[in-house]
């Protein structure tokens, strides 16, 4: 399945920035990585964690219980926007089993701080966003409970703690909140209109709290002025939610004697939760231990801190007993951090031959009632030009508050949105100038000899063979067989269509990661690392890296995650960062460990260091039969054989690829069946192709889900979210998807020692575009030229009807 490894061709041009990994600064023995004949890396090693998970031995948050534990239930706002005039908790307090009812007034009285979300991406390479006119944007303080007003439906206004979960829920209904309803706004365009009656935060009277301009305006204007063709389009990549299988949960305990808090809460990274929650509580981080073991799905929803986590911690101190909270599925639909929701207007200038000259983009991100993350806007801003060489571009990036649940980086944060925009725009351009859309793409794709390539808004793509991706994807898809397939479908009364999208995405992510490796005398190796899998198989793929480095069998390596008493530093898992950051720091730590092992072997045999040769896990004095094993070295009296290494790495990588979708539409029911899906994904070095394929498949399903079914529908008249359960929120299902033709391209990234890019999001990034373009292609004979996601039967039926109307109008 794996395409032959291709080395990135590097061209030393003046403009080519230096993004290469600095081998000179690397620790000793690091070269081993470069030269290693990988034994485990690149192999589809079966997942170590599966047996545990499949036999019910996973340790998810709700599986934990503590003696004397109590239960929390939230009182949630039924209004999208309302002032809290008062809260009467007397009836709830009198209800059976109730121990406490806490409100926003108590939050203020106890001096609890807002969650320090830190929404601005913080590596040196991220697109820097600022408030309109400059400066740090106002993000809307995220207190555990608001005292002034509610800003979205479902916002928690009080927490009830009781002896049982049922008692807490019953009593929550008795809490009487006096609201004064206010004007509300749901859509970002309305909120940013300049005349919006709803002001979500008084500090930002026009709701727009971020406005930043990027690119070269003069060059762009000049290019548009001399362009032979200009195309423009506007899109809304709407709101979806992650729907992890395990609803979020928390179990908190406070030990009055030691003053220490403990929190069991599955997340995307326990260290972040610990630091942010400590700040909320006003305590030292070391006074809080956070445990996050098995996590049943994340997709970004779990990477930011939830108020419920802070509420259980605080409540456990207030009631003096452990407090547990487990969200219901309804609460998850309402108040999991949501994804996407970008309005974008894009324009493209071309010369007479269809060469792209310049691009303009105007992106507006709906962050909801508070700003939890600007990653989607920032990431997307850096990639508006996609896989194409567009010499000049300008971009306005804005973010706006609305009366909706907060959005967060959702699988492939910000990238599917801009990929959708550029790929649809390219198709529109091809149509307008009468050129084959593949040819138009080919003419403008970034060539390998331009790598590293700085795009028009300043992002530096590290490596990739974009056109080869496209060719291989087309071959895999059997692009040329399409005409015959279409003919066959037409004979059955069906409409067949295909859609191709190229993508490039950035993987940046939190820059710091730490690995601690300990060799135990009993033949085991423990690796402590600060990432947090939620199904990605870190326990296996990370073990493969360390096993290869140390020359031991993969079975001997155990990955330890998720307990902040053990894991001190860690960026968690998001932005496709885990394998790259963890792989790098594990390789560095391993190389230090090898050096230490060599030193000990020399000491053991009392010979000079350079006489020690290594063969796998055996250390031999050259020319003798004196050998000592790695695990024996760990048993020597010189103490534990262990290293710890922290690494900070800012340089981003740019996974890329091409995906193609084929759909068959029943024009009567307006039912869309996805009949074929092929993809080539350049993930850089692939550590475990089986796991990467799993990620690709899941990623495709998630992108297809948004294109086809998923939408957080809100009633414009009442502001009420309408898709509150699986009855109304359509999920992708196995029987709605074909068997995927996925292949991995390994163009080694020069930015890190293992050459890794990322493999978790590439399936999702192009999928919104491929599916939409395929549907448009299928409907083209009926005159349909535009359509909105999700591509539900009703949407398709309406589009066909409107096209008919238009045709009629033209004929008359």
């Amino acid at each position: 399945m794996t395409r032959a490894k291709t080395s990135a061709v590097r061209k030393a041009s003046d403009s080519a920035p230096d993004i290469a990994w600095r081998w000179d600064d690397a620790p000793p023995d690091m070269d081993y990585v470069r030269e290693a004949l990988f034994r485990h890396i690149g192999k589809p090693v079966a997942r170590k964690e599966d047996k545990r998970l499949l036999t019910g031995k996973g340790r998810f948050t709700d599986d934990f219980n503590l003696p004397g534990q109590t239960y929390a239930a939230m009182v949630r706002s039924p209004h999208p926007h309302a002032r809290i005039l008062g809260i009467d908790a007397s009836a709830a307090l009198a209800a059976p089993g109730v121990l406490a009812v806490l409100t926003g007034v108590d939050v203020l009285a106890d001096g609890l701080g807002p969650i320090p979300h830190n929404p601005l991406p913080k590596t040196n390479f991220d697109m820097k966003l600022s408030a309109p006119g400059g400066g740090a944007p106002f993000i809307g303080p995220h207190l555990l409970l608001p005292a002034d007003k509610v800003r979205h439906v479902g916002e928690a206004v009080a927490v009830v703690v009781a002896e049982s979960a049922a008692q807490a829920m019953d009593a929550a209904e008795l809490v009487d909140v006096d609201y004064e309803e206010l004007d509300f706004v749901i859509d970002a365009l309305d909120a940013a209109s300049g005349s919006c009656p709803s002001v979500v935060w008084d500090e930002v009277p026009d709701n727009v709290f971020v406005e930043t301009h990027f690119g070269d305006r003069e060059a762009t204007d000049a290019a548009f002025a001399r362009a032979a063709h200009v195309v423009e389009a506007s899109f809304h990549i709407d709101r979806v939610t992650g729907v992890p299988m395990e609803p979020r949960a928390a179990l908190a305990a406070f030990d009055a004697e030691s003053g220490k808090y403990t929190l069991y809460a599955g997340s995307g990274g326990a260290v972040r939760q610990k630091n942010e929650l400590a700040e909320v509580l006003g305590i030292e981080p070391k006074s809080l231990r956070v445990l996050s073991f098995d996590v049943g799905g994340n997709f970004g929803t779990r990477n930011r801190t939830y108020v419920e986590f802070g509420l259980t911690l605080w409540a456990s101190r207030r009631v003096g007993r452990p407090v547990k909270y487990t969200a219901t599925r309804s609460e998850a639909f309402l108040t999991d951090y949501q994804g996407r929701d970008l309005h974008t207007t894009v324009a493209l200038a071309m010369d007479a031959e269809g060469r792209f000259l310049a691009m303009r983009a105007d992106n507006l991100s709906n962050v909801g009632a508070r700003c939890v993350s600007l990653s989607p806007l920032s990431k997307g801003s850096g990639l508006i030009t996609g896989s194409y060489d567009i010499p000049a571009a300008t971009l306005r990036s804005r973010a706006v508050f609305t009366n909706t649940m907060c959005t967060q980086a959702y699988r492939s944060s910000g990238r599917p949105e801009v990929t959708y925009a550029i790929e649809r725009l390219v198709e529109i351009a091809a149509k307008q100038i009468g050129m084959d859309p593949i040819e138009l793409r080919r003419r403008n794709m970034i060539a390998p000899d331009r790598m590293p390539y700085r795009n028009a808004v300043g992002q530096v793509y590290d490596s990739g063979t974009y056109e080869t991706n496209m060719d291989q994807a087309m071959a895999l898809f059997d692009w040329d067989g399409f005409a015959a397939r279409r003919e066959e479908a037409t004979a059955r009364g069906m409409l067949l269509g295909r859609g191709l999208a190229n993508y490039v995405e950035s993987s940046i992510g939190s820059p710091r990661e730490r690995a601690e490796i300990t060799v135990l005398p009993d033949g085991r190796i423990e690796v402590v690392i600060g990432t947090q899998p939620s199904g990605q198989g870190h326990e296996t793929s990370f073990a493969q890296v360390v096993a290869d480095m140390l020359g031991v069998p993969v079975e001997t390596v155990t990955i330890i995650i998720g307990d902040t008493d053990v894991v001190s530093v860690g960026g968690g898992s998001h932005s496709g960062r885990s394998m790259r950051h963890a792989g790098t720091v594990m390789a560095m730590a391993s190389s230090e460990l090898l050096a230490e092992a060599r030193r000990r072997a020399a000491e053991h045999f009392d010979v000079a260091l350079d006489r020690i040769e290594r063969d796998g896990d055996q250390y031999r004095v050259a020319g003798t039969n004196h050998t000592v094993g790695l695990f024996e070295l760990a048993a020597l009296p010189s103490g534990p054989l262990a290293v710890a290494r922290t690494n900070e790495m800012h340089t981003p990588v740019f996974p890329n690829g091409t995906a193609i979708c084929e759909v068959e539409i029943d024009p009567e029911l307006c039912h869309v069946e996805i009949t074929r899906y092929a993809t080539i994904d350049d993930v850089g070095r692939c550590i475990n192709p089986m796991i990467v394929h799993g990620q690709t498949h899941g990623g495709i399903a998630q992108g297809v889900g948004q294109a086809m079914w998923e939408l957080c529908v809100t009633d414009p008249d009442s502001g009420q979210p309408l898709a509150g359960s699986f009855m109304d929120y359509g999920m992708p299902r196995a029987d709605n998807l074909p068997s995927f033709d996925a292949e991995i391209a390994e163009v080694i990234s020069p930015t890190n020692p293992l050459g890794i890019k990322a493999g978790g999001e590439g399936g999702t990034t192009p999928a919104l575009a491929t599916v939409t373009l395929a549907v448009l292609d299928a409907l083209a004979p009926l005159g349909v030229t535009d359509i909105k996601m999700p591509l539900t039967p009703n949407t398709i039926w309406r589009a066909i009807g409107e096209a008919r109307q238009q045709e009629k109008g033209v004929m008359e």
Partner: protein
């Protein structure tokens, strides 16, 4: 979910006695509608009387040209019954199209008919086939039974014991699933008995399942899809929601009814 007490009845008599003596009691069959409703705190019975194991509500058999199916029979039992497949194959196909495997092994015909969800499958078959709802106290003709959204002719405490389906000459079912819930976005059951065509539509009506009389007339004498090629029900009477507006539902009703007519002796499920 609010607190409640659970009672397992062992006979029809015991179930009825429990209902008469307990406060705020509700029958529990498969629980696949009732329990989610309770979990969402939209229903709060104090007592649940489990009727899923009552022997009187069990069994599938023929009684003089009538297929009698016990109310507690699961969708799976109906879908897998060779008797149903031989007599009314469209009904077996309908049962096999409900929800998923887990739902079909727990949900019951009686529960579905008693609940009368506007998107449920069974009501279309019951109404089209002119079945009778046999309860602990009477037999109710289908035409009188379904009385609007979640409303039926059942009286307080009245228990469905069985559904009696007169075996038709032929019948077909056409269904288009809601992509989210997989309930019917629109579905149509077309049957012919004694020369009369009956068309019952579910998933689409504002008041739940309904007979589409215009289609019945058009198909009378010659049940061919082409006869209703341009026929659509009035949009005014149709549901409009985030999944399908009334105009689209009118289109779907036309399509699924044509497909039912084209698949007599079976079903077209998409």
């Amino acid at each position: 979910m609010y607190a409640f007490d659970y009672h397992r009845a062992r006979s029809l008599e015991e179930a009825l006695k429990l209902f008469a003596t307990l406060d705020e009691a509700t029958f529990l069959a498969g629980g696949h509608t009732l329990l989610p409703t309770m979990k969402n705190r939209l229903a709060a019975p104090e007592n649940l009387i489990d009727i899923s194991a009552l022997p009187e509500l069990s069994g599938i058999g023929m009684q003089g040209g009538v297929l009698r199916i016990g109310a507690a029979m699961t969708h799976h039992a109906v879908a897998a019954s060779s008797l149903v497949a031989e007599t009314i194959p469209a009904l077996a196909a309908l049962a096999g199209s409900i929800g998923d495997v887990q739902v079909r092994h727990v949900g019951t015909m009686g529960g579905s008919v008693a609940n009368n969800d506007p998107a449920a499958d069974y009501p279309a078959a019951v109404l089209s086939l002119g079945a009778e709802i046999e309860t602990d106290r009477r037999r109710i003709p289908a035409d009188d039974f379904f009385q609007g959204l979640y409303a039926t002719a059942l009286e307080e405490g009245e228990l469905i014991v069985a559904i009696r389906f007169p075996v038709p000459e032929t019948a077909g079912y056409g269904k288009y699933r809601n992509p989210a819930s997989r309930y019917a976005l629109a579905a149509s059951f077309v049957s012919i008995r004694d020369g009369a065509v009956r068309v019952a539509v579910t998933g689409a009506g504002k008041n739940g399942v309904f007979r589409w009389e215009a289609a019945e007339q058009a198909l009378m004498g010659h049940c061919s899809a082409s006869r209703i090629a341009d026929l659509r029900p009035e949009s005014d009477a149709l549901l409009s929601d985030m999944h399908a507006d009334a105009a689209f539902r009118a289109n779907l009703v036309n399509v699924v009814t044509r497909r039912a007519a084209e698949h007599l002796g079976g079903a077209s499920i998409v």
